[in-house]
Amino acid sequence: MTNGPEVLVESRGLAKRYGSTTAVDGIDLTVRAGEVFGLLGPNGAGKTTSVLMLLGLSEPDTGTIEVCGLDPSRNPLAVKRQVGYLPDTVGFYEQLTGRQNLRYTAQLNELPPDMAEARIDDLLIQVGLAAAADRPVGGYSRGMRQRLGLADALVKDPRVVILDEPMVGIDPEGVLEIQGLIARLAREDGRAVLLTSHMLHQVQQLCDRMAIFVDGRVLAEGSAAELAAALADGRSVLEVVAASGREPIHAALAAGQADDSVVDVRLVGADRWRISVPAARAVDVLPALVRAGIDVREVRDLGSDLDEIYHRYFADSREVA
């Protein structure tokens, strides 16, 4: 993989421990210019710790990092000049206006004042805050702060943009807008975008590549289709709406199986069951339930749904923990 767009973020074997707990356990990441890369995982998976290490704000115990060809722990200033960062809980100086907050960031980045003003105006329009720009941030809503944070990360015109949970607190309509903005950052401006999220469906279409990140490890990496293929593990998941208890359903499906643990039945809503069976047996589920006299109203195959795989992995990791 020597050709293709320039690699702007690269980590090898990155690990970090806090006392006896391992926050990040050997991760390899590559993000290229013009690409949106998603780091997906539940809260506490080590996403923010990884991001802080990429920024040089936290020292890795082992492993190497290169951002724009530089080591963040040796050249922190050079790296931070080229990396825009939106922290997971972004905060602003409450008594200053949105514009003043951005201006401070511009000054810290030594942007020439006239250029900074033009850029700030442009960014405030892009994130939809032009009207509120001269009001103190103290009166901003959660979503407005998140938008301002996005503008703040872009003030320095970074080559690499790191967004920690960029969609949190943004209303559903705003999410589409922000998704469009993030996509433009990569596709039109040629920046490398690395974002973290625990909401798969919000970033599934947005990311060119994703890594599923659980307990400090990357479980799988690739495009949505590649992930689905990699994580399918020969099982099918179906959602069944049936007025019945767990036991009758389980008994109907496990009948004739040597090991009844191959069938997993879980209640996910009113009369709504999520059933996991070996892929080869998926077609037998409906006949088996009908044979058992269970009143089935709906069956839906979730087999290739990444969301389902993602939930299953997260559920598994929680059970182990």
Binding site: A33, T48, L52, L55, L57, S58, P76, L77, A78, K80, R81, V83, Y85, P87, T89, V90, G91, F92, Y93, E94, Q95, L96, Y104, T105, Q107, L108, N109, E110, L111, P112, M115, A118, R119, D122, Q126, G149, D152, L154, K156, D157, R159, R184, L185, E188, D189, G190, R191
Partner: protein
């Protein structure tokens, strides 16, 4: 975006170091804050009332003291009813509040607002944050003290009709510098608290607590410790001497005492010793005034002590901040 990664017109010229950008913003924030106005008002009110009372008292005795030098400085050192303290004592007592008010939430405030991760992800060194904040707060302290001293001096000139001599003005300027360093000690301590303690209210409480203890009970502690270290034997005068020496030495561990001694010697040219003086030593001594250089020589150890305390406490805050995780 208007600018693209390919065409990067930005010239990365280092025009202003990171700490200076932080300091400028913090200075502007302080000047806009209610805290600044409140401190200026409080210190101004106290200073004006104490100097006004002193001026009234001095006017009453003016005919008898006509021509006596150092009259102007007495405005700052004389206590007169109904105000319970002299200007000097007031500043010694209230200046720490100024330092604490400007720094108790310096770092934990950034944490609470969630601005710290954003700030340290900009291309500045991490120490630029604490350094810039300290410099800005010290500049604000200097501004407040200068304004208060000018108002008080102006008031004194109007009330007494005496124009200060060059020597008196010089002594005032040196005293002002010493007072700013003294506030710096408290500024550094409040900064340390703000790095160490996560809640601004706890940080303010600890800083104010130490100030009250040192200001109100410092002398008591020094006396108790001296009595333990060198008990006085009523039959042996040497033990009383040792006890008194120990008490003075121990009390000088407190910046409050260091400042009081410095200010007393700087604003009272007649003060010739700050330590232990026996009756023999002052017997038939001629009352005369020290030159500024001699007064400075007298308080040099105290001044160095104040500067050292500021440096050591700030260094502790600095090291602690550098070792902390950004997100904690």
């Amino acid at each position: 975006m208007t600018t693209h990664a390919e065409s990067r017109p930005i010239q990365w010229t280092r025009r202003r170091p990171g700490w200076a950008v932080v300091a400028r913003k913090e200075f502007a924030d302080h000047l806009r804050s209610a805290r600044f106005v409140a401190m200026l008002f409080l210190l101004g009110l106290v200073a004006v009332s104490s100097v006004y009372a002193a001026a009234q008292a001095l006017r009453d005795v003016a005919p008898a003291t006509a021509g006596l030098s150092g009259m102007f400085l007495r405005l700052f050192t004389v206590q007169a009813d109904p105000v319970p303290f002299s200007f000097l004592t007031f500043v010694g007592f209230l200046a720490p509040i100024l330092g604490i008010a400007l720094a108790f939430d310096a770092v934990n405030g950034e944490r609470a607002q969630g601005t710290l991760p954003r700030l340290v992800s900009q291309p500045i060194h991490r120490d630029d944050v604490v350094n810039g904040k300290f410099v800005a707060a010290l500049a604000v302290v200097g501004l407040i003290m200068l304004v208060v001293a000018l108002v008080v001096a102006g008031l004194g000139i109007i009330l007494l009709g005496i124009v200060p001599t060059v020597a008196e003005v010089t002594r005032l300027v040196v005293w002002l510098a010493a007072a700013i360093v003294y506030v710096g000690v408290w500024l550094a301590f409040a900064t340390l608290c703000s790095v160490w303690l996560r809640r601004a209210s706890t940080s303010a409480m600890v800083a104010i607590g130490l100030w009250l203890v040192l200001a109100l009970f410092g002398a008591l502690f020094a006396q108790l410790a001296a009595d333990v270290l060198s008990p006085v034997d009523p039959t042996d005068p040497a033990t009383a001497l040792a006890n008194a020496r120990n008490e003075i030495t121990l009390s000088r561990l407190s910046p409050v005492v260091l400042y009081e001694e410095t200010a007393t010697a700087l604003l009272n040219p007649e003060v010739r010793s700050l330590g232990f003086v026996t009756l023999d030593q002052i017997d038939r001594a001629i009352v005369s005034e020290l030159s500024l250089s001699q007064s400075l020589l007298l308080v040099w150890p105290q001044l160095v002590g104040l500067v050292a305390a500021t440096v050591v406490i700030f260094a502790a805050a600095y090291v602690l901040f550098m070792r902390q995780e950004v997100r904690a």
